[in-house]
Symmetry: C2
Subunit: 362 residues, 2 copies
DNA sequence: CTGTTAGCGCTTTCAG
DNA sequence: CTGAAAGCGCTAACAG
């Protein structure tokens, strides 16, 4: 036990070898103590632990990660540029809250890669995973049909959850809502009310949720024996101006008597303004079905019905299962698809327009 | 150029050595290309880059971190258990937003260590830094006078910012508000209005902001030639019940004619209820000075004045400077101390009670 | 411009 | 129960 107390210098970053030398054991013994492995006498263990506590030793995570996969860090990354798909503040807070409860409160690190598109031109949002930075990850946003990164993530076998699915990879680990069905329900609702030409404000163009909206619309119109006019589908982005003019474009055609607001923007004011500019009165001239992420919520008080997309609820379910996969208590991939619900509730009390994560606070 | 295309197996995790072998160069050349260093012919660089892109190679962050300090990850940790100091949702969102703008949008990782107290009993919130996980960190909350971890962080020379200071380490890199002055201003305001015995709802007991409140109170009372009765200081936690009963305890003493709400809870309802239980009418029986984190805000409409603590503004300033330190464009430590402001604005429009990060959403 | 060698701090393997 | 040695994938230092 050659404890050379005299040569103990004030270190900031200790190594196992130094610890071992000071305590008078081998590095392997220190390693065993640090990792709580068996095969160390209690007195030795205590001696090592005391010294580690005293000098404030922390194992170097990089060195460790060269021999074993990291287990204590979950990554969160965004597969779409934030400028394309602004993050709903309420959604983000829920996700963050779940991540805290499931991972953070148990002492795990939660690592955000919020702009993987910064330096590389390619869709390299998987970098944190393949760099060995985290043990699994959450893809927090819709996937693009041209996405290839997701395939590599899937093949890696590491735990992951996409908050959105992909036609090209049906086995993708995902938690989402069936937007195709949402659109079919919306169309049917309006067809039942006697409408023949139904306009659609179609959000998420270029992403899977946009594809599903389109497919659901065409399928439902066909089943109803109505014209599947592509012009009835207007792509919209999240900007108010864009939403206004798209609404206007649809309603300027007087044969269009109904509107499905599948923009995902929950922006009643813009839809109203678009109606006004087209000389229409919502609820009288135009029958509207609005889409929302909140149950029993009214987005547009003049709407005849609202479709509730339980996206957040699906995400919560998926994250719960991801935690199990993470802990080795189940296998991947995860498949959560929640059905949308048609709510015919009415009321003056409209949901306030959503705030966006990085939009509102500066 | 021994490109053994034939032996190229579908890998998920490539190493530099494999890349080098496949392309027919040395590992050092691959390293140079990956890190954008000079000393590689353009054609070679392109050949390597093409291959890297093709196979989706990512350098192993652990291996890299053994030779050089990480530069692309900022850590956020909480030096106080979240149960002691619930996180103000508005504050969190501002911090997150700043972190995104300053670090995230530039392609850096933001790594949260939200419950470092999970497994270890010691205040080990510095673990991420000493494990080599991040290049610098933000300590997001008040510091305890018994804290020793902060000394090690300070000595490490790594960039860090504490959102709160510490008497025991005046040179600590920090961005905060002068609570001592806030208390002195509060007391003076009430003394000018003729009060001799002033009760204080004192938040953050056991943390530096609590100490500063106490010190400021005793100092101001002494300067005013009034009794420095310790009983006039009531420690409060963030629970409504606690706030109510503390208010009650103070005001049951009829000699106490004024109250400083330095709880930090921004909870008008509880203060009112405490007054009511003591048979007092705020603004008539009791003169009140309220503390708030929002400028020109009214917390309690019956209050004669409000003290604005620009904590969030100081944090924003500090984070801006941390980014410079991070990028080597300045040296540490950072010293931001914002003065509080007395606002005599009145109005019925009270600020809604704050939401807490992990309280509200589940 | 390019390559070789050593070694970062751990964990794994194998030997006592 | 304990230790010695090899090696993970990368970069720094030094040769060419």
């Amino acid at each position: 036990m050659a404890q050379s107390e005299s040569r103990r210098r004030p270190h900031l970053m200790w190594t196992m070898e130094e610890i071992a030398r000071e305590v008078g054991v081998s590095t392997k013994t220190v390693s065993r103590v640090v990792n709580g492995e068996a095969g160390v006498r209690d007195t030795t263990r205590m001696r090592v632990n005391r010294f580690i506590e005293e000098v404030g030793y922390h194992p170097h995570i990089g060195a460790r990660s060269m021999r074993s996969q990291p287990r204590d860090c979950i990554g969160v990354t965004i597969p779409a540029p934030i400028s394309d798909v602004p993050v709903h503040l309420g959604f983000f807070l829920r996700i963050f809250s779940h991540l805290y409860r499931i991972f953070g409160s148990r002492g795990r690190f939660i690592c955000f890669d919020l702009n993987p598109f910064h330096s590389s031109s390619s869709m390299d949002y998987s970098r944190g995973l393949f760099e060995g930075r985290y043990a699994g990850c959450v893809l927090c946003g819709p996937l693009s049909p041209t996405d290839t990164t997701i395939f590599r993530i899937h093949e890696s076998g590491l735990p992951y959850l996409a908050l959105g699915r992909l036609d090209g990879l049906p086995e993708c680990s995902s938690a989402t809502v069936d937007y195709e069905v949402a659109m079919q329900i919306s169309v049917n609702c309006l067809v039942e009310r006697g409408h023949k030409r139904i306009g659609v404000l179609k959000g998420f163009h270029g992403y899977q949720p946009g594809l599903e909206r389109r497919r659901g619309f065409l399928k439902a119109m066909q089943l109803a024996g109505l014209a599947e006019d592509e012009h009835l589908l207007q792509n919209v982005t999240f900007g108010a101006q864009n939403l206004i003019s798209a609404t206007h474009r649809l309603l300027i055609d007087s044969s269009v008597t109904a509107l499905i607001d599948a923009s995902g923007a929950e922006d009643a004011a813009s839809v109203r303004e678009g109606c006004r500019r087209a000389g229409r009165v919502p609820g009288k001239d135009v029958d509207i079905v609005g889409w929302t992420y909140s149950d029993n919520a009214v987005i547009l008080s003049e709407a005849c019905a609202h479709i509730w997309l339980p996206v957040w609820e699906a995400a919560a379910d998926g994250l719960e299962q991801l935690a199990l996969w993470f802990d080795g208590e189940r296998e991947g991939p995860i498949h959560v698809v929640y059905p949308p619900t048609l709510n015919r509730i009415a009321g003056e009390q409209e949901l306030p327009p959503p705030r966006r994560l990085f939009d509102v606070l500066e």
